[in-house]
Symmetry: C2
Subunit: 434 residues, 2 copies
């Protein structure tokens, strides 16, 4: 049995249009979603816990009467970790340890310097006080995501990490709880959707308001995050996950097929693209796909994803392949080539770069160390993997000496008067020496 | 003549409520604004230049028929700079030079490290390709803002810096043009409003689409930025400017009054707050305010701002004053005290900290070096001054050795199977050595 996957070449005349079609994707947040979310946010802001309980009972088919029933204790989290089968607990703790040690390298320090006249300039770097982590419930509740979102905040020095995770029909995912314990989460509320985002943004009687909200969610969660942006910070609005594999044709085609599957199995909208200068290799990978697909647990999801959004692209040259990389600005880029480091300087946009035949993207999803929260849908053009820097902020430092203020005051005065801001000018002029 | 300014003490029973009232501020983006902006964005996306010309003619009372009439040449910018009076040109160039040299210190470099088994991990830091800078027109067209927005992008290594600035009734501000030349702006279009934001976000036949849009604007601009977020990156949505001055009572009260004015003169919504443990000093500053206000060009704006949004707060202790600082998370914090460095460790949130009696905030607005684009309305809790880091982005680097992939593969396999992602598991397992 064979499946249909889009295939084209960078040499064909309609190549640019093929690429546009392949990459077109837009999350639909229509007026109705906007209105629903806006109502929920208003309701949580004005009625707090009561509204949060109502929405949770309604949307997650729960039947609780107090917020106490919607909070998990540290004991529950620790118990979940302790009771995991040993192999899983060790894997989780090893992953947490590697993620922590990589992120330690991202910590940024305050700095300052003093000019000849004694004026000090610099920047003070501090952690945020309290952040919120949204963890999706149901089939997309991934313990690895808990690690990837919470550990950078923990490394940054954030004192309170508040996690929300919906538990539809009351179903708890013990691995998610265990991951919260391993990652240093402070408090966990079993709420989700726009109501959870609103609660974190504005606070309720029970849920503390946070400074920033990170983590993926459905269209209601994404719309709510966009709406509360400004009241709190948010991370990127995530689109479907995608991978671009570039292969010189010398990696085992089964490996490459499975790498493409590993992205496609996330959901029907996920996107897996293979680029090679070797047309025969594209055939070989296609054969591997057809051979391996029937053996996959999530064959239906993978088939839909590959058929609807996948592609095999024949590049005319390595230069062509690099142009494709930069056009796509992929979330995950696998460079399954002989000398991946030689490719690096030309690559301008990618969330994460998996280099060499051994570096399966799946290793990065779990335990290599770097974050798996990455910019999707081409947003690697302007955004970065989630990191410690997302939980730190800066304050400029300026301390003028009497001499420095006098000199700078002259320049400031001229410029302020050019802008007709005379109070600015006079404030500066007071500091000019006679 | 005396003016009314809110005054209260941290000791009074309704203090917390007084603070809440003082700090309550919300930009009103109502359904009508949303609809208008949404229509404009759609129109620009679908009809490009034609729509951009129409909206510009309509909103800026222009009468142009082609985009060529809405673009300024590099020669025009350079001419504006060359023809400035010498004093102004020198001040502008000195400011640009100081801003550039401070921001050079913010540049972040790529890094990597190699583990014992040969696995390489790191992060590659690159500039964005092309960014857009929104510069407001009319009375808020500040040349200093052009420097502050464009120079960090230039230092980051951004190749194309596209500036938009509306010119209502066709009026050009020569200082703004000169600043664009001094800051290294690539192209300037004389368009503004939501239509300019949409053009930058999606591109038109003439305006190149950018990767990120920064710069302040009115409610239409802010709403449009929020709407295109995701298609492009954006900076913070700016609220009215504010200053918090903390003084030990030993600075000349005229200086402090003028520092408060320098914020208040921006616009009626601007906020100036003075905190002191010395009640007599609050009286003295109030007397200076009453004395100096009639001498100010923008007396009416200052009076409205101070009456509607200003405050003189009597703190019971330095500890109290620090609590007020962290509660407000001010955009500008002036520490007009004897030993400002002793205060620093306790200050958790502030956009920029002006330390000591000589460091008037106005010096930082123009030429000290640090950026004057700062987080407003308490957003210093989670955001930072505009900087070079806003124009750089990161790609994670992972290159596993055969040994590293084998070991990591075991952990990834266990975790992936815990999440029922078997393609992930099998992709990792292919790399495990027998």
């Amino acid at each position: 049995m064979t499946i249909e996957i889009r295939r084209f070449s960078s040499a064909q005349p309609d190549y640019a249009q093929q690429m546009d079609t392949l990459l077109s994707w837009e999350a639909v947040s229509d007026a109705q979603v906007q209105k629903t979310v806006s109502d929920i946010v208003f309701d949580i802001r004005t009625r707090g816990d009561a509204a949060l309980i109502e929405y949770t009972n309604k949307f997650d088919r729960m039947n609780v009467s107090s917020m106490a029933q919607l909070e998990l204790s540290q004991e529950q989290l620790q118990k979940a970790l302790d009771e995991l089968p040993a192999e899983r607990r060790e894997a989780l703790l090893l992953a947490a340890e590697r993620v922590r040690s990589y992120h330690e390298k991202q910590k940024q320090d305050s700095w300052d310097y003093t000019e000849a006249d004694g004026t000090l300039l610099g920047q003070k770097v501090t952690p945020m006080d309290r952040v919120g982590i949204y963890v999706p419930g149901g089939k997309a509740a991934y313990p690895s995501s808990v690690l990837m979102n919470a550990i950078p905040a923990h490394v940054a020095g954030v004192q309170e990490i508040i996690m929300v995770v919906p538990t539809p029909d009351g179903e708890l995912n013990q691995l998610v709880l265990a991951a919260a314990a391993a990652a240093g989460v402070s408090r966990v509320f079993t709420v989700g959707g726009a109501q959870a985002v609103a609660a974190l943004a504005y606070g309720t009687e029970t849920v503390p308001g946070v400074d920033k909200i990170v983590g993926p969610g459905n269209i209601y969660v994404a719309t709510a995050k966009r709406m509360v942006f400004g009241q709190v910070g948010i991370d990127m609005i995530a689109g479907p996950s995608e991978i671009l594999v570039v292969c010189d044709g010398k990696t085992d085609p089964d490996w490459i097929a499975m790498d493409l599957f590993s992205q496609a199995e996330h959901d029907e909208d996920a996107q897996s693209i293979l680029v090679s200068t070797d047309a025969d290799f594209l055939d070989a990978v296609k054969a591997s796909i057809d051979k391996l697909l029937p053996t996959m647990e999530r064959a239906d999801i993978i088939r839909t994803s590959l058929t609807e959004r996948g592609a095999l692209i024949h590049a005319q040259s390595d230069v062509d392949a690099i142009a494709i990389i930069n056009r796509i600005a992929p979330e995950h880029l696998e460079l399954s080539v002989e000398d991946p480091q030689a490719w690096l300087p030309a690559i301008r946009h990618a969330g994460a770069i998996f280099m060499g035949r051994y570096t399966a993207e799946a290793l990065g999803d779990y335990c290599a160390g770097p974050n798996h929260v990455l910019p999707t849908s081409g947003t690697a053009r302007f955004s970065s993997p989630l990191g410690v820097y997302d939980f730190q902020k800066r304050s400029s430092l300026i301390m003028c000496s009497a001499d420095g203020a006098s000199e700078l005051g002259k320049t400031a005065s001229v410029l302020a008067r050019g802008e007709f801001l005379t109070a600015h000018a006079r404030s500066a002029e007071y500091r000019i020496k006679d």
